[in-house]
């Protein structure tokens, strides 16, 4: 069944519909792939083998009966472990939720299933989606299939590594400050974060509520369009979801954007960026130009990256982003009190405050504690204006920069990550160094914009390099079409990682 594992979601869907492969065979091939490779990679926290097989067999029965089975009929998909399902566990890779069984299913997952997708299981992540390497998982660190001594990125590292290693054709991730795009870039796959509110957050365990967004991780842009069209749309269960019709992204993804004006933010092409990545991006820009696109220089002054004399990086956007997301996290994670669900200590005697403090101390990992504490601090009396309120003002300046840039171009072409995948353990003792991995990805979460990362080259060391394309609010179609153009015109060969199931 190697063939099925190499197919994209679209190809597999078509092969199943044509009767070349059965849904049952496709699902069993993925389950077998996970069985063979996940000991090395740790992409999955839980696999729903029986349920997935039954789901797939039902698709085959419906096909045999001549029924239509949906836009993802029979396609196996993995889901990040922070999306609730009314079956199995939803752990957020945290001890706090190790045994949590959600009583309902997230809207995005319900929509996948309604479109005929088979849910394989839950993928590993940084605890509560807080991290950029999946090393903050309480389960195990996920490994990068291109080099298992390196991280897959995060926080959706399990989803990215699973798709890259061909354990499954597609997965859902969530992106608060780059958690879909950064791991996609480091694992050589496509990751897409739609506009804030385009996909319902109902059933997504909350981290930074004004930033969180669900999106697909796939092996090509066409699949990103296909999955986005399935999961997007207004949801009465999420009052922040956008009530606008969803275009059929997959239908027009092949139509080039003509004319195409590509903005290159000058603040992001500086010495702070790895030389090999900068060169790959400039080559990609030239490729677009040769095919008729116009390159324009734009400016994002408040997303500027400063390099100190000692080489230390800093950026208004990174500072702004972490203040906002930590403040929101401290508030969102107050719900873990050992009462309604989650871990409760057995060491508290009879005191309720001690029960709370110990339950949270035992249930949360170090990074979560750090963020909850910093968020609590920046929201506390005397500091609120200096940190939180200041960050909200800077957020508006960052968003305005993007608005002005999009007056002169259709999409922005920029880095996804400052470097290729790094070694496990190399940044775990220096939280600020880990936060700076988001330096090119988190500004757009603050502005709520759609962004996509796609693989464009391999480094000399054989590791994937990603390119990020950013669009204006609700500009999903433009981003997907521009990305698909590159995929079609570039000669980026179909490279495969060293750990692969096919």
């Amino acid at each position: 069944m190697t063939d099925a594992l190499d197919m994209t979601a679209t190809q597999l869907r078509d092969a199943i519909a044509a009767g070349d492969v059965s849904a049952g065979e496709a699902t069993r091939a993925c389950l077998d792939a996970i069985e063979r490779t996940d000991g090395q990679l740790a992409c999955f926290n839980e696999v729903y083998a029986d349920r997935a097989t039954q789901q797939a067999d039902r698709i085959d029965q419906r096909l045999a009966a001549g029924e239509s089975v949906g836009a993802l009929g029979g396609v196996p998909v993995a889901v990040k472990d922070n999306m609730c399902t009314a079956y199995g566990r939803t752990t957020c890779a945290s001890r706090m939720l190790a045994e949590f069984r959600a009583p309902y299913t997230a809207t995005a997952v319900t929509k996948l299933e309604a479109a005929g997708a088979v849910i394989l299981g839950k993928t590993n992540m940084d605890e509560f989606a807080m991290g950029s390497s999946t090393e903050h998982s309480a389960v195990a660190p996920t490994r990068n299939p291109w080099d298992t001594s390196r991280v897959p990125g995060g926080s959706s590292g399990g989803s990215a590594a699973a798709v890259a290693s061909r354990q499954c054709p597609a997965a859902l991730g969530s992106d608060t400050g780059g958690s879909i795009r950064q791991p996609a870039a480091l694992c050589g796959v496509v990751g897409f974060k739609p506009t804030y509110g385009r996909v319902s957050r109902y059933g997504l365990v909350a981290f930074g509520s004004s930033l969180d967004q669900i999106g697909p991780v796939t092996r090509d842009v066409r699949d990103a369009a296909l999955l986005s069209a399935v999961i997007a749309g207004h949801d009465p269960h999420d009052s922040t979801s956008i009530d606008r019709p969803v275009p059929d992204y997959a239908a027009d993804v092949h139509t080039p954007v003509e004319p195409l004006r590509i903005g290159m933010p000058r603040e992001w092409f500086t010495d702070a960026l790895d030389g090999e990545i900068a060169a790959a991006l400039r080559r990609a820009a030239k490729t677009y130009e040769r095919h008729g696109a116009e390159l324009v220089h734009v400016s994002l002054p408040h997303s500027r990256i400063d390099v100190a004399d000692d080489g230390a990086l800093s950026s208004y956007a990174v500072s702004c982003y972490y203040i906002v997301c930590m403040a929101e996290a401290s508030s969102n994670l107050a719900r873990y009190d050992g009462v309604q669900y989650g871990h409760r200590t057995d060491q508290a005697g009879g005191d309720i405050v001690e029960m709370l403090c110990r339950s949270r101390a035992e249930g949360f990992g170090e990074e979560v504690k750090r963020r909850v504490m910093l968020g609590t601090y920046t929201l506390s009396a005397g500091y609120y204006d200096a940190y939180y309120n200041k960050a909200l003002k800077v957020r508006r300046l960052i968003a305005r920069d993007f608005q002005q840039a999009f007056e002169r171009c259709d999409v922005l072409l920029c880095p996804a990550t400052p470097s290729v995948a790094f070694e496990l353990g190399s940044k775990t003792d220096d939280p600020m160094a880990m936060y700076l991995q988001d330096i090119y990805t988190n500004s757009l979460n603050l502005a709520g914009l759609p962004g996509l990362s796609l693989p464009i080259a391999l480094s000399d060391s054989g590791l994937p390099i990603g390119m990020q394309l950013i669009g204006p609010a609700l500009g999903e179609q433009t981003v997907l079409r521009a990305a698909r153009m590159y995929e079609t015109i570039s000669d980026a060969a179909d490279h495969k990682p060293s750990v692969t199931a096919s």
Binding site: Y316, R344, M373, K393, L449
Partner: protein, 100 residues
């Protein structure tokens, strides 16, 4: 704004956050939180006097639901993940001390 976050302050933040901290964690966080807050202070370089705070990426107006009962969890479902429950109630340690 403090240049460093001393251990006493870390313990205070731990209490506000309802997280019990070990001595080792207090020492680690004292170092790390100061480093991160120094990065946050970078925003003070910017003049934001006439800038409206932006709490949300998409400017939203209030969404009101119809005042009619919808689907909700059954009592059994609501209690199914509770670490402790007493028949049909969540159980917690006593909130009011004996020596009131």
């Amino acid at each position: 704004m403090p240049e460093t976050i001393d251990e006493q302050r870390v313990r205070r933040i731990g209490t506000l956050s309802r997280i019990a901290l070990s001595d080792a964690e207090v020492a680690t966080f004292s170092r790390q939180l100061g480093d991160i807050l120094a990065h946050f202070d970078k925003l003070q370089e910017l003049d934001t006097d006439n800038v409206e705070p932006m709490a949300h990426a998409v400017e939203l107006t209030n969404v009101l639901a119809d005042d009619t009962p919808g689907e909700s969890l059954s009592r059994e479902q609501a209690l199914s993940n509770a670490p402790a429950h007493d028949d049909d109630l969540f159980a917690v340690p006593k909130l009011i001390g004996d020596s009131q």
